[in-house]
Amino acid sequence: MTEIIYIEEQVIDEPLTQKICARYPRATRILCQHYGEIFNRKGQNFRLQKKYPALILARKQRQLILDAPPGYGLGGAYHYYFSHMLNCVYDCRYCFLQGMYRSAHYVIFVNHDDFKQAISNRLRQTGNHTSWFYSGYDCDSLALDPVTGFTSSFIPFFRQQPQAWLELRTKSPHTRALLQQQPLPNAVIAFSFTPENISRALEHGVPALEKRLRAIHKLQHQGWKIGLRFDPLIYCDDFRDHYRALFKTLFSSLQGDSLHSVSLGSFRLPKPFFNTMQRLYPDEALLAGPLQEQQNGQQGMIGYQHQLEADMIEFCSEELLRYIPESIFFPCYDQ
């Protein structure tokens, strides 16, 4: 899969760099001084690159831990996110990363210890309050886990930090590394879903629902806490039927007692990201649909027309609450 690996000169001797390079012995290795030379450069085309993405191995130097966006939370006092990787191996047409990044290459930060240090520092500041650390904001937490070794590295670390919760957000069935470890009581493996017709049309490369369900079963069986994420909610004709069917499939198949949380969120994008995505995918029905610039303090954000969004949230919330108690339901939208 990976035929080109860009490597920052400063990380060439890092153990994870060596490990990843050994995994792709035939890949062309290209040295660079800073990943931004490739990743942030103007005048490149995300859609073209997505056909032949390269790996970029780099050191994350600043802002290793960031405050989670408002409304992005599952209870607890503090919410942060961190990204051991930029970009996702899947190609979901609603994903903001396409509008945010100029490049579709996968940046893997190999300095895991610096992230751990930054998390420890943050925890010292927050004392005994519960803090959440979300890892699947700029990437899928598990999709490239066999390459990045992310969970093997961070699960043992979080085991030593009981006041910190880790959320791994994913659409991937790559759970082998998790299954090789004891379940972590302060971690949630959160799987994102959309109805099957939407997934097939918009989530390119995402494994089939059955495959992901099998992965969840294994995790549940071993005692891992599971989260379900319906974020973003995607509109289509007869969305009620499609979401109702999805919820029915999921909740009839999963064990309710190990469900940690269920959340949903509306489809929102900063306007510049939306414009970029529209330029990249002018023939995409999702982006041609009933979207508009948000009002009420959300200027500069593109989302579904207000009434439509409200209908979707109301319907999906009601449907979800038929299956789960309100105590584990965390809607993420503007009230």
């Binding site: 080109i4 001084q33 032949y52 017709n197 097939r200 023939d283 029905a285 009933p290």
Partner: protein, 274 residues
């Protein structure tokens, strides 16, 4: 359109023959053209390369509008240990005494091995780095990266000198022979560029009815952008539905046109097939 940039006539000759290009008459540069292909002999050095590319872009914009051309720099170059005659695509282009670097974007597996490429002011004879050495590529990239996406700009070099055979062995015939030996690879690179260019052109294509609307009504700059966006959305959601009927063509002005399209799209269903 694919623009081939070479430094000297011996690098150009085999390409002109192989690609059946015809000489065009210009005072500034020697330009040859064929079907969707142009070849320009820029002269030696990065400044010559940069100014030639800028000149060619200006010419193209004047004649053909501002569509994204693909650019391929072809030439001979030194390399410390690669065998003479080896063809290599550049995966990183830099200058000897500067931090400026370019990383050409690949959209598929390259049709030949790749290498770093360093542009120098004077012919390099020490070959200190594991890289190709040429005298044009950085100028070529400085210029072309202003006009085209990085996936459409590549530099292909054939090794003409190394530790074992220095630059004193290079003559016109030898340079011609080296380029001739790589014509098959050059064809494959051109094919790849053509394919990438087509994919990009699809992204940038104007929607149906845009020109018709612009000819029929007057739109301000802002309205024109909005019109393009609405027509693109319409084309996606209503691909088979005719727009140019009397209801539409009878609209009085641009504002009514935009309102009509917006209204039509607001009530449009979005269906993802199961």
């Amino acid at each position: 359109m694919i623009n081939l940039i070479v430094a000297i006539p011996p690098e150009a000759k085999p390409l002109i023959r192989h690609l059946r290009l015809q000489k065009q008459t210009y005072r500034s540069f020697d330009l040859f053209s064929g079907k969707n292909l142009r070849l320009l002999v820029c002269g030696v050095g990065k400044l010559a390369a940069a100014s030639a590319c800028a000149w060619l872009q200006g010419l193209a914009e004047q004649n053909e509008g501002a569509s994204s051309a693909a650019w391929l720099n072809i030439g001979i170059a030194g390399h410390g240990y690669q065998p003479l005659g080896t063809g290599l695509l550049a995966h990183c282009v830099g200058e000897h005494n500067s931090n400026q670097r370019w990383y050409p974007g690949f959209t598929a597996r390259p049709p030949c091995p790749t290498s770093a490429l360093i542009t120098v002011e004077q012919p390099e004879t020490r070959y200190l780095d594991n890289a190709l050495y040429d005298m044009e590529a950085s100028g070529f990239y400085t210029s072309c990266s202003r006009f085209s996406s990085i996936e459409l700009i590549h530099s292909f070099k054939v090794v003409s000198d190394n530790h074992f055979s220095g630059i004193h062995n290079i003559n016109k015939n030898y340079a011609e022979e080296l380029i001739s030996s790589q014509l098959g690879t050059i064809d494959r690179i051109i094919e790849l560029l053509r394919h990438t260019q087509q994919q990009l052109a699809q992204q940038q294509q104007n929607p149906h009815y845009l020109n018709q609307c612009l000819q029929h009504w007057h739109f301000s700059h802002y309205q024109r952008q909005l019109l393009r966006q609405l027509l693109l959305r319409r084309q996606t959601l209503l691909p088979a539905q005719e727009l140019w009927h009397t209801d539409f063509s009878g609209l009085k002005n641009s504002r009514q046109v935009l309102e009509y399209l917006q209204q039509q799209l607001d009530t449009q269903r979005v269906v993802y097939e199961p």
